[in-house]
Symmetry: C2
Subunit: 375 residues, 2 copies
């Protein structure tokens, strides 16, 4: 797939794989695609060791890192707040609701060693992500992506000094224009069908709109892409590559909690929902008792970012731990971010096979399309 | 575009144009596409004269007719209810809300000659659509489409006796399987980004899923399609043609109320919403004061089908009449069904030009895709 993005990233296939799992990142890069490690919840030390491991596995092949740089979040004016401050801002009503929810679903045992407030550890403020950037730029990354909000000017400058491509995700044409003005090199146009933080406009509509709006910047399509036909469709729309997340969650390498992986394999495309219940911003995930509980009018509304993830981080951990055990209804609650393509994820495959099947179907599709036009 | 659907319908371009406007239907058919007249609100007499006119204009070229055949609606058990019965079922609270809404937006003058309860006249029950079918089958139609619900067995049989292709719209794979079991010849896989009655799954995800589920039945893609790149994407996904509605609403020929046409030309892709406020079933339309008012928790919820359209039919007529006149805020309320592609509808074009530009961009896109693959 000879596109400008393939050249820019130095890959054979401009298939970008977003994953929190280093094994997936390395496997995609080794298969000729481009792995991107989601690092927002990592400590600097852990990020350092993950990137070192990826580089050992891939022997100099290109990969990237993804962070959340949201312009709007609780404490943004002060440049971010620390974990203790976050904890103090959690309303008693919300804490009580989450505690009660766990009890109602029979989850009584505590989480492992110490309560890990995963969400409270989302490094979404300059205080939080600055040390991660230090680590990332000390490694041989080829791309840095901002999954929420335009990257700050100094980040763009530093990236370019390191010859690192800057990408940013956009759910509307307005976002894309803002990213372009901020100096990014690559726009990821993400449709509503995507997993995780997502807007309301579908990939089919969003991609050509953004391609035209930011021309001549190259665009990747995200949302609804898990196979070669969808890659061909994305390129028909004007994208020069794709950005996929959900499809890796059911691979052999994925660290998806087992109960969630099983649910993904069984789910259909109508089983997802956009919900603020995980991070405080609308994100698409599997619809389960968890999202239903948060949607009930009599229950509290989710908090903002980063309070919601701080509120529920420990509960999520306990749910996933309890879900495999008898005597609880934890499995009903278990959920995770995933896009509507979950309906087509019906078997566990090695990551490498996913990439190669995508490429094969892509090539077949282009051949089929050629046959439709009179010469 | 040599697909099975092009052959089945006897057209050069398998671009199906759904429109309530006979001029659009005729122009698309004459341009080498396939016009489909939306006939649910027509009287048998009017349908007869519309079809006669279309046939005069197109000189034997193929066209089709679209009806709503919903399996679930108020009165379905009795085979449908008449206008008088519908009127009696409208709650006083709902009538009062609509009356008050008009007053609040300064709409005091009555509608033209006699109140036309458009919606009450939706011919969605056998009683209502049977006379329309009589008319349609007496004409030289090539296709009959069911926009809601699987077509009844006797309809499929009659259509096949007349050598008429039966199509049905599906928003989920489950719907598509039901249609296939009912004996339809062609499935229209309609993504959530479409205007009008629509589900939640996006075109990018829905089309390949349905193509695989109903194989070997051919599939058209609907939702998010207004230009050649999107047609190429649809065909990449496995569709053998497209079904478009929104793109015709801003053509020269379209009978869209002037204030609504202006709004469509100015709107962006984020300006639509799925709302039950027009027909009682979720349908995508332009978000305006009308949809916002119906979404407020303190206002009544929309009624079911066909009560809601009976309730609001006259009000809609009065809104569109008043919208062009000074001294009212009617223009704020004015809305109509449209998909997310409304963001790309920025100029009024002749219908024929729309078709030909679609085809030209489609061919260019296939050429561009060929260049991406190493030979």
């Amino acid at each position: 797939m000879r596109t400008r993005v393939a050249e820019m990233l130095g890959v054979e296939f401009p298939i970008c794989a977003f994953s929190h799992c280093r094994d997936v990142v390395a496997a995609v890069t080794n298969a000729g695609g481009f792995g991107v490690l989601g690092a927002v919840a990592h400590s600097p030390k852990r990020l350092d060791s993950e990137l070192t491991w990826i580089e050992e596995q891939t022997g100099g092949k290109p990969y990237g890192v993804d962070l959340l740089l949201p312009p709007k979040y609780v404490g943004a004016e002060q440049g971010g707040i620390d974990r203790q401050q976050v904890a103090e801002l959690l309303p008693a009503e919300h804490r009580a609701f989450v505690d009660d929810l766990l009890v109602r679903y029979g989850i009584t045992q505590p989480a492992g060693q110490q309560p890990r407030t995963t969400g409270g550890g989302l490094n979404i403020s300059p205080k939080g992500y600055e040390p991660l950037l230090e680590v990332a730029f000390a490694h041989d990354i080829r791309l840095i992506a901002s999954a929420l909000g335009p990257p700050p000017a100094d980040l763009v400058e530093r990236a370019h000094d390191h010859d690192v491509v800057v990408a940013a995700l956009a759910g509307t044409t307005q976002h894309a224009r803002r990213h372009a003005a901020a100096g990014v090199d690559l726009i990821v146009a993400q449709g509503t069908e995507a997993g995780g933080h997502t807007g309301e406009v579908a990939t089919m509509v969003l991609v050509p709109e953004i391609v035209d709006a930011v021309d001549p910047l190259p665009v990747l399509a995200a949302g609804g892409i898990a196979r070669g036909r969808q890659i061909a469709a994305a390129l028909a729309l004007g994208a020069e590559g794709v950005w996929c997340g959900s499809v890796w969650l059911t691979t052999e390498e994925a660290e998806t909690p087992p109960v969630v992986k099983e649910k993904f394999l069984a789910a259909s495309s109508t089983d997802t929902v956009r919900s603020r219940s995980m991070t405080g911003k609308p994100a698409r995930m599997l619809r389960t008792a968890w999202t239903d509980e948060w949607a009930r009018p009599e229950n509290p509304d989710p908090l903002g970012m980063p309070l919601q993830s701080a509120l529920i981080g420990d509960a999520q951990l306990r749910i996933n731990q309890a879900a495999g055990q008898p005597g609880t209804r934890a499995a009903e609650l278990a959920t995770y971010f995933v896009g509507q393509v979950v309906g087509s994820l019906n078997r566990v495959r090695p990551t490498r096979s996913v990439v190669l099947e995508m490429v094969e179907e892509f090539i077949d599709t282009i051949g089929r399309l050629e046959g439709l036009v009179d010469k």
